[in-house]
């Protein structure tokens, strides 16, 4: 007979048929179906292959615990892997594909893996790929084959075309789970004036009401939803609370478009809600768990409750006849409901006494067999029947089995509360013997667990539990004792084994973990459940151990001779169900990954034809190519023009800090290694600051504008860390200093005019100023006021030089930057000068041996960088003590040097290693930090660090080794000041 659709009943919309495809085969379902329900209705029993052994898999459950019906959905860039068919809503034209089966489900090449099963047992990877003879390269060789054979779905390799969002929300009470308990709690709390958000992962609210088969339950559900909404509560469907974090911050993933065929292109596919509730009510229910016995993973073996869910919620019968195997009364209700809908049922109950429901079941035409357990499933690609055997009071299973023919098998080992979210908060679960499962332990946080999630399984008790919580939250004392567990109790039952019969019984069907794997882990000495989990991978698949966890612990406990539950349980960690990476990244991807910083002259650079580059978050002009020029042509021309004529560069990205107050001088004197106490007003000084540990933090110039007013510049890279450090010093350490600091990086546009004719350009721009060396010497600072559009504009100018030429750094209010830049640029152009970008800036500073972040990488001391003589011997400064640590003052430390290729036509790259020519190996003697073609010297040069510095390598040859690019060049080590070492050009 197989699976079929009932003539009527269920919550599906029979007026809306939905056509979809499974592995290319056209099938039909109805609106309101899950993928799994529609497949069962079409009698599709085999829906995929398993992870490791490629065994055939069918639908196993009707919820997020599913380990069999995992699919790839959609084609191309929109393909999604590991979609749970039991949760995903069917939509028209949906393309569903089985996973892990090539070329098809029924004939699968990988199924040969099951023949090698003995080699693929627990710890396979550890044993095969770790150890003395088993190198990483051996693993890397094997990995590609293993990856192809194992695993679940395959993700699309194309960029995700969907959009995602992050939303923030606040509420008094967040209720997770819209089953009987959650609905009651949410409705009542909302009516009491609380701001309530109720989240439900399903596309229908109701939880167990949906599959009860009782119309009055649905009416009650509708009434509760109305009450909640009328009272201003919010119900979010298709929304999974995936993580519970510090301060009760809850991550909720809302799926908006996966169930829609043609979604609004502007609607995000998913939204990550970051909710801040005052209280969290967890009404997350319980998962039914299976039993471990032979071939319990065959297509057609399902959870007993799932059979009822498909029948009552979707009007789908998984088969015409079933054997239900249970150990508690809960399954009787399921059986009676299924029998009423026409399923032929044999119910085997592990308990030896008759259930209170025995009469009702018999009256419904069900054959009830007591004291019997399932042993082995007959049939290879589908269920043909089930071997059952007697079990005695002590749990010993008889060797004699009887075969009962059936189409499907429904199993139930009881119900395990869903306790994942409290576990995220570090709340230790507690074993509750009455339900043979873990429940949430004590916590002082505002987390409240109600209903089946707390082991309260009866619907009426769930309502009482919800009401009691509401009363408690309103400050009243609880009145009633809440009854936990399944009425009628249950017999603990986990694994069924017969001596002498070796059968594959699965604990974790999604990861192919068998009970034998767990026993093997025990034999090999794994005691802790956390180790057992990692060794066997039990519970590490996308279902996070919902089905297998308790079973696995029970098998482990039995092997250790301990009571079930005494071993504790592994810690559940977020996310509760898989969350798309895209939903966590939301809009912060590609160019929107972080904000872009543009200098005030950004569009002037673009207009001048600049090629831009990224420097941190900044966009900077890299070079300004003329027609037909390569980058090398352009920067060499720009650098040469700077040396021979005049050129201008945008330096707005430098960090700028206003340091003001009566103690500003003292403050600067403490943070810089060199003296600052006697810097005259109207002068600038180059300074270096260290960290507490004695390493160089940053360098830059600081200008004294007035007695108590300084203008500090930092490097682009260190602007934020320097500001942070200075604030920390003033607020924590030197609270007696009267200094105010303030970042003014964005307030000032900066430009440097450099070259022998820099004065002429500035004279043309500011003709009333005296630009002579006498009036404006090296390191001089001047404020210039000029009128523009009737307003006085202030300009700060200092005669300082990074290029080594006569140069002026000019700062002006950011909004006037573009205008001043354009004006200066036209004066420069008239004199035959040009603009220069980062590449030429680099060339000029390398020639001069001026350091940047490439050299000052946080591992460099003053002496390493050649600044040892700058340090004051008379004053303490930040880092002055720890820079004397023995390891930082030993003589052979790598020091800053210049590097010339021996054959001047040779070239090398930054990142290359400097080696002794006879010993090109290991870490070598040093490294190259920066290279450029030097227009001034006419060949390639580099900066770098080498043990002992230039003096130690005088008249010696080094090998610049670059094995990655296969470039080995002989070089000589020179002073880092490779051009104009006396500084005559900048001093004028």
């Amino acid at each position: 007979m197989g699976g079929y659709r009932l003539k009527n009943g269920g919550l599906i919309n029979r007026d809306k048929p939905v056509s979809f495809s499974f592995n290319g085969r056209k099938l039909n379902g109805f609106e309101g179906d899950s993928i799994a329900a529609a497949l069962l209705a079409n009698n599709v029993q085999q829906v995929g292959r398993s992870f490791k052994y490629h065994r055939l898999r069918g639908v196993m459950s009707a919820g997020p615990e599913e380990g069999g019906a995992l699919f790839n959905v959609n084609d191309g860039a929109k393909r999604i892997a590991n979609v749970k068919g039991t949760m995903a809503e069917l939509r028209p034209q949906m393309q569903v594909y089985a996973q892990n089966a090539y070329p098809g489900i029924r004939f699968d090449i990988g199924a040969i893996n099951s023949l090698f099963a003995p080699f693929l047992s627990a710890g396979f990877y550890y044993k095969t790929f770790m150890g003395p003879m088993r190198s990483t390269s051996f693993w890397m060789f094997c990995e590609r084959f293993i990856r192809k054979a194992a695993g679940l779905g395959t993700a699309s390799r194309e960029p995700d075309p969907d959009s995602y969002d992050i939303a923030y929300g606040f509420c008094d009470v967040l209720v997770v789970g819209a089953g009987p308990s959650g609905l009651h709690a949410a409705a009542e709390l909302a009516e009491q004036g609380r701001k309530v958000i109720l989240v439900e992962q399903d596309f229908e609210a109701g939880g167990s009401y949906l599959s009860s088969g009782r119309p009055e339950d649905l009416a009650l559900r509708d009434q509760l939803i109305r009450r909640l909404k009328t009272a201003g509560g919010q119900l979010m469907l298709r929304s999974t609370a995936f993580g519970l974090y510090d301060g009760l911050v809850t991550g909720v993933i809302e799926r908006l478009t996966d169930h829609i065929t043609d979604p609004d292109p502007y609607c995000p596919r998913e939204i990550t809600h970051i909710l801040h509730p005052r209280h969290v009510v967890l009404a997350t229910g319980a998962s039914e768990r299976g039993l471990a016995f032979g071939n319990n993973d065959r297509p057609g073996v399902m959870l007993a409750g799932a059979l009822r869910s498909y029948a009552c919620r979707y009007g789908v019968m998984a088969g015409g006849s079933a054997v239900l195997a249970t150990c508690h009364d809960g399954t009787y209700e399921d059986a009676i409901m299924l029998a009423g809908l026409g399923m032929e049922i044999t119910l085997i109950d592990a308990r030896n006494r008759k259930s209170r429901q025995y009469q009702a079941a018999s009256a419904a035409g069900i054959t009830v067999l007591n004291g019997k357990v399932p042993v082995n499933v007959a049939g290879s690609s589908a269920v043909a029947g089930i071997e059952v055997a007697d079990i005695d009071e002590k749990g010993v299973v008889d060797k004699v089995t009887t075969l009962i023919g059936c189409e499907v098998v429904g199993i139930s080992g009881g119900y395990s509360p869903v306790i994942h979210l409290p576990s995220h908060r570090g709340i230790k679960p507690r074993w509750e013997a009455s339900i043979q499962a873990f429940v949430t332990g004590q916590t002082s946080e505002n987390i409240h667990v109600i209903g089946a999630a707390d082991g309260v399984f009866e619907a009426s008790a769930c309502i009482d539990h919800a009401r009691q919580l509401c009363a408690k939250m309103m400050g009243k004392k609880p009145k009633k004792q809440i009854r936990r567990g399944i009425p009628g109790g249950q017999r603990p039952l986990f694994e069924i084994q017969i001596d002498g019969r070796k059968l594959k019984s699965f604990i974790d069907p999604q990861h192919d973990v068998t009970s034998e794997d767990i026993r093997q882990a025990h034999r090999e000495g794994f005691v802790s459940v956390e180790h057992m989990k990692r060794y066997t991978t039990l519970g590490m698949a996308t279902d996070q151990g919902r089905v297998g966890n308790i079973l696995g612990l029970a098998v482990m406990a039995q092997a250790q001779g301990l009571a079930v539950g005494s071993s504790g349980v592994t810690t559940f960690r977020p996310p509760f169900t898989p969350v798309s990476i895209g939903a966590l990244a939301a809009r912060e991807r590609g160019a929107d990954w972080r904000p872009v910083r543009r200098t005030p002259m950004h569009y002037e650079h673009l207009a001048a034809g600049a090629v831009m580059t990224d420097a941190g978050a900044w966009k900077r002009a890299w070079y300004y190519p003329k027609q037909g020029e390569t980058i090398d042509d352009a920067y060499i021309r720009e650098a040469a023009t700077t040396r021979q004529n005049v050129a201008m560069v945008d330096v707005s990205t430098l960090g700028k800090i206003a340091v003001q107050g009566p103690d500003a001088t003292e403050f600067l004197n403490r943070i810089y290694v060199n003296p600052f106490a006697k810097l005259a007003i109207g002068k600038a000084r180059y300074g270096i600051m260290l960290r507490d540990d004695g390493m160089v933090l940053d360098d830059g110039t600081t200008w004294r504008l007035a007695e108590d007013d300084y203008f500090m510049t930092t490097t682009t890279a260190q602007a934020a860390p320097v500001m942070q450090f200075l604030e920390e010093l003033l607020q924590r350490r030197w609270t007696d200093l009267k200094v105010h600091i303030s970042s003014v990086t964005d307030q000032w546009a900066g430009m440097a005019v450099a070259g022998p004719y820099a004065r002429e350009v500035l004279s043309a721009q500011f003709p009333s100023e005296d630009w002579s060396d006498a009036a404006f010497p090296f390191m001089g600072v001047r404020e210039i006021t000029f009128a523009q559009e009737g307003r006085d504009i202030i300009c700060r100018v200092a005669r300082i030089s990074f290029s080594g030429e006569r140069a002026f750094e000019i700062y002006v209010s950011a909004d006037k930057g573009a205008a001043l830049w354009s004006s200066l640029a036209s004066h420069i152009k008239e004199g035959g000068g040009c603009l220069y970008g980062m590449e030429a800036l680099g060339a000029l500073r390398i020639e001069k041996g001026h350091v940047t972040a490439a050299e000052l990488d946080g591992r460099v001391t003053l002496e390493d960088a050649g600044f040892g003589k700058m340090a004051s011997k008379t004053k303490p400064f930040i880092g002055s003590v720890l820079r004397q640590r023995p390891h930082l003052i030993f003589e052979n430390r790598p020091q800053l040097v210049g590097i010339f290729p021996k054959d001047r036509t040779g070239r090398f790259s930054a990142g290359a290693i400097l080696c002794h020519p006879d010993d090109v190996s290991g870490f070598g003697e040093g490294w190259v930090t920066a290279v450029t073609h030097s227009p001034a010297l006419g060949h390639w040069i580099g900066l770098g660090f080498i043990s002992g510095g230039a003096e130690a390598w005088q008249n010696k040859t080094v090998m610049v080794a670059d094995p990655v690019r296969d470039n080995f060049v002989e070089a000589e080590i020179v002073s880092p000041h490779m051009f104009d070492p006396q500084g005559g050009r900048q001093h004028g």
Partner: protein, 85 residues
């Protein structure tokens, strides 16, 4: 951190490199870099992340905030006296 004038290497070494990492009550300084830029002294339990007190690290800021939060006294007598100091 030792005073800047302290040239004892060990004192600096211990302050910079040897930090306590206690389990339980802990006093630490947080820098509110994405907001008010204040350095805040936070009492936090490292086990539970429970924060029991937050005050500005700088004593003057602390005083300023404390006086702002104080309820206005109807008599005005005491606050007048405080001003006189």
């Amino acid at each position: 951190m030792p005073a800047l004038s302290n040239s004892n290497k060990n004192a600096w070494y211990e302050a910079v490199f040897l930090r306590e990492n206690p389990r339980g009550a802990h006093i630490e300084d947080w820098h509110h870099t994405q907001g008010c830029r204040m350095v805040l002294r936070v009492k936090r339990d490292t086990l539970t992340h429970k924060i029991t007190s937050v005050v500005p690290a700088h004593p003057e800021y602390k005083k300023m905030l404390a006086s702002r939060d104080k309820p206005v006294r109807p008599s005005g007598k005491k606050s007048a006296g405080a001003r006189a100091k």
